[in-house]
Symmetry: C2
Subunit: 227 residues, 2 copies
């Protein structure tokens, strides 16, 4: 499903050169549930941005469903992203002047979902993350963990094939974290593929495969018995 081959991501030159990713190879099949861990600054978000087609590698090839994404036009890439991938950003990236409900509808507008479906599905996604009573709030009127959950609802509402979540429980207490991880498990049982970055071992335990990133490289990659 996702096939990253010898990816490099380099920023800057000379003294300012940062090799954020070095020769990264990662292959993910449909239905997998993968946790990605590693120190701060090790390259996890950079990797997620490449896997999510939000950025291009400096070197290497990345295929989604067999298609080399570097060959796609910007428009085709945006289409591919919209129908296949749901992304939860480390900093949420919600539209600030837009309610929770409207924020969650955005991916569906782009996908051409019929207008009478938009509100119903956005509401259902927000209820799944426990925010049924915060639909009209703006991001500035929501707590950090509530904003995080709006970002999660937005990532799942289009039923993408793959969810890429960068620290999805970073701002959540343990009870709400467990609810979100159980939601991810249900989605995986419904056929979605899930990759999530976390720095908490308790959270990584829900996955059936663990990838550890260190200094821009994959230091470890193997199966584990999920919780």
């Amino acid at each position: 499903l996702l096939d990253a081959s010898h990816l490099w991501k380099v920023y800057g030159e000379g003294d300012a050169r940062v090799e954020a990713l070095r020769d990264v190879c990662l292959s993910v099949e449909a239905g997998e549930f993968v946790a990605i861990m590693g120190p701060s600054g090790s390259g996890k978000s950079t990797l997620m941005n490449l896997l999510g087609c939000l950025d291009k590698p400096t070197r290497g090839t990345y295929r989604v469903e067999g298609e080399d994404v570097s060959r796609l036009s910007a428009t085709d890439l945006a289409h591919r992203r919209n129908r296949t991938l749901g992304f939860v950003f480390q900093a949420f990236n919600l539209l600030p002047r837009t309610s929770a409900l409207a924020n969650v509808q955005l991916p569906m507008l782009y996908a051409g979902v019929p207008s009478k479906e938009l509100e119903r599905r956005a509401r259902a996604a927000l209820e799944r993350v426990g925010l049924g009573d915060r639909l009209s709030h703006l991001p500035s009127e929501l707590s950090g963990g509530q904003q995080q959950r709006v970002a999660i609802a937005r990532a799942i509402v289009n039923r993408p094939k793959v969810i890429l979540a960068d620290e999805p429980t970073g701002n959540l207490d343990s009870k709400t974290s467990a609810q979100i991880l159980e939601l991810f498990q249900q989605l995986r049982d419904e056929g979605l593929t899930i990759l999530y970055v976390t720095h908490e071992p308790d959270v990584a335990e829900y996955a059936s495969r663990l990838v550890v990133v260190k200094d821009g490289r994959i230091a470890q990659d193997g199966p584990q018995t999920p919780k």
Copy 2:
């Protein structure tokens, strides 16, 4: 040092009314090391914003060093905040077009620190949080955990009496978290008072007092043996 008496914070009216804080009383002495935990949306950031003089309560009185802050003019309140309190925001709130080094210098500019001191002290604060090699990076060129650490460096650089940190380790791996918490312990040994919000029990263990917030109220408040 900090004395919050019967604080309420209410947003909205009618159906949209949210009682974010209800009748909260909290008293903190100089030199304390307090962890604040509680579910997502329970009122922790709202409480921190009131304690940090970034917002006013709907009802109740809040005194800093014996002075009722609701009596201060906006200018005096800003001065009081700048010299007494250092704040680490849940969303970091760094200036996006400004380097890490310049972001950390901001509180000192406001305090009138001599210009030849500015760069030296900002650099020292960034080295203390492990970012000595990222001084000229913009926030968008830093990882989530690196941005978080710039926000921490900015909060400590003016040697405030109190540090209020809202989820300071939320984006940090366990090794970097431990470094930041040890830094907080050192600062407490140097005479600072530290309050921090966390949702991770391992992180709360460093404090000598635990406050638990639930549904806008203080559900629990007592001493604990720190790690």
